[in-house]
Amino acid sequence: MTEQLKDGYQWPHRHLLGLEELSAQDIRFLLTTALGFEGVSTRSVKKVPALRGRVVVNLFFEDSTRTRASFHLAASRLSADVLEMAGKGSSVSKGETLIDTARNIEAMGVDVIVCRHHHSGAAAQLAGAVGCSVVNAGDGQHEHPTQGLLDMLTIAKRTGRTDGFDFAGLTVAIVGDIAHSRVARSNIYGLKKLGAHVILVGPSTLLPGAFADLDCELSHNLDEVLPRVDVLNMLRIQFERISGQAFPSVREYVTRFGLTAARLARAKPDVLVMHPGPMNRGVEIDSAVADGPNSAILEQVANGLCVRMAALFLVNGVQG
């Protein structure tokens, strides 16, 4: 608390909707807080009483395994009660709107709604309609802020930058289906704010030129940028979101953008390989790479827990 008063910083956000709205200082504060939660997951009693008596609702309108589990576990480790709600099989399938569903849940005395929805902007709309905190767990093609944050925590830990979370001099390539990826957007906003150089790589059908407006370098040739990058974030090809034909064949995509062992050998020897999961093994990433020494994929999952604990803890402390 004394440190906080010294530089006058206070976490100001009641909701976590995206990294676009956060300042560099907000991001650094959240990641530093996440580091403080690391020990909780490794000791014998994996629980702290920080959110005892609070209620967190997982409201998921879209399939999810690790994000849902990660939020559930994060809330449990803070001693909050967790209510699991799914879009399917709930009254939403009887025609209730998102806002009505949320208001009804809120009426049960809820403190945080963690929301995943297939429409971009759903979390922001929810935040405007309810009195409790809202944490965006992915909204359409817009943002997935906790994924962006856990990616940055992983990068900071593996490159020894956890002191000030200063990413100046770091080059990060985000490869694959940029157009449909909320993970890419959250990463871009966050990484740029921490000072990293971001290269977006993908076929032109999945990498619209408009992304250059986000102050990123664009490339359609992975082999060309490969020797320059410190971090490779391989995105999943979202077959379910791609309508029509984005590339001639999966095989052609693999040939040009798949991260194979042979391709990895041409990158810097200590290049960090990440993937938000779930992986299409053999498509955007080969098993040998995903399970190899450069891969931080399982660390990402572990870091996700700390980041989500920090997010739930911080939004809970800001009164409406």
Binding site: M1, T32, G39, A50, A310, F313, V318
Partner: protein, 196 residues
């Protein structure tokens, strides 16, 4: 504001704490309790500095290198009342605490709520054999049944240097602060920044 202890006096207080701890450890180990291990755990964000100073003075062998830091932010019972969030930092106890004698170190003891939080936090890390409480300043004003085992400076009601109710104690310790001192503020001088 008035200064209750300058740097020389404060070093004297730390020395007396060290003497007290040293005597207890010695008496315990001469009672054929050589199997007992000791550890020093400081509570952020002044207790950790104090613990380091005590460890330096007594020598790391006294605790077999077991000196740790406890962050109690997540265990505080006033999280929802203090509004803006305090900074969560890491607990750094890299040794198993089961079966150890743990000397818990804090700078100022007042309500006892920080100590309660620290005890709760310690118990979640394992099962120590016994926890001892060492504080540089006992300010008095307890709200929980907690009593220190080692006290440097007694300012509680009834002591020779008892404070008046509105006064707040602040401990400054190098290297975190620029000097060593124990100071007293009246409430008007300092807007409630000092929590226990």
């Amino acid at each position: 504001m008035r200064v209750l202890a300058d740097s020389d006096r404060l070093q004297g207080l730390i020395d007396s704490l060290c003497g007290g701890i040293d005597r207890v450890i010695t008496s315990k180990t001469t009672q054929n309790d050589t199997s007992e291990g000791w550890a020093l755990v400081g509570v952020r964000s002044r207790g950790d500095v104090l613990a380091q100073r005590i460890a330096e003075k007594l020598g790391p062998d006294r605790f077999d290198g077991r000196v740790g830091t406890l962050d109690i932010t997540l265990y505080r019972d006033d999280l929802s009342e203090i509004g803006p969030h305090p900074v969560v930092r890491t607990t750094e106890i890299d040794f198993p605490i089961d079966g150890l004698n743990i000397v818990l170190v804090d700078d100022v003891l007042m309500t006892g709520r920080s100590v309660k939080a620290a005890l709760q936090s310690l118990m979640d890390l394992g099962r120590p054999r016994r926890v001892w409480l060492c504080v540089l300043v006992d300010r008095g004003g307890r709200e929980l049944p907690i009593a220190p085992d080692f006290v440097g400076f007694d300012l509680s009601a009834g002591s020779a240097a008892a404070l008046s109710p509105g006064e707040q104690v602040q401990v400054m310790l190098t290297p975190t602060d620029d000097r060593d001192a124990v100071m007293v503020f009246t409430q008007n001088e300092q807007e409630g920044a000092n929590l226990d």
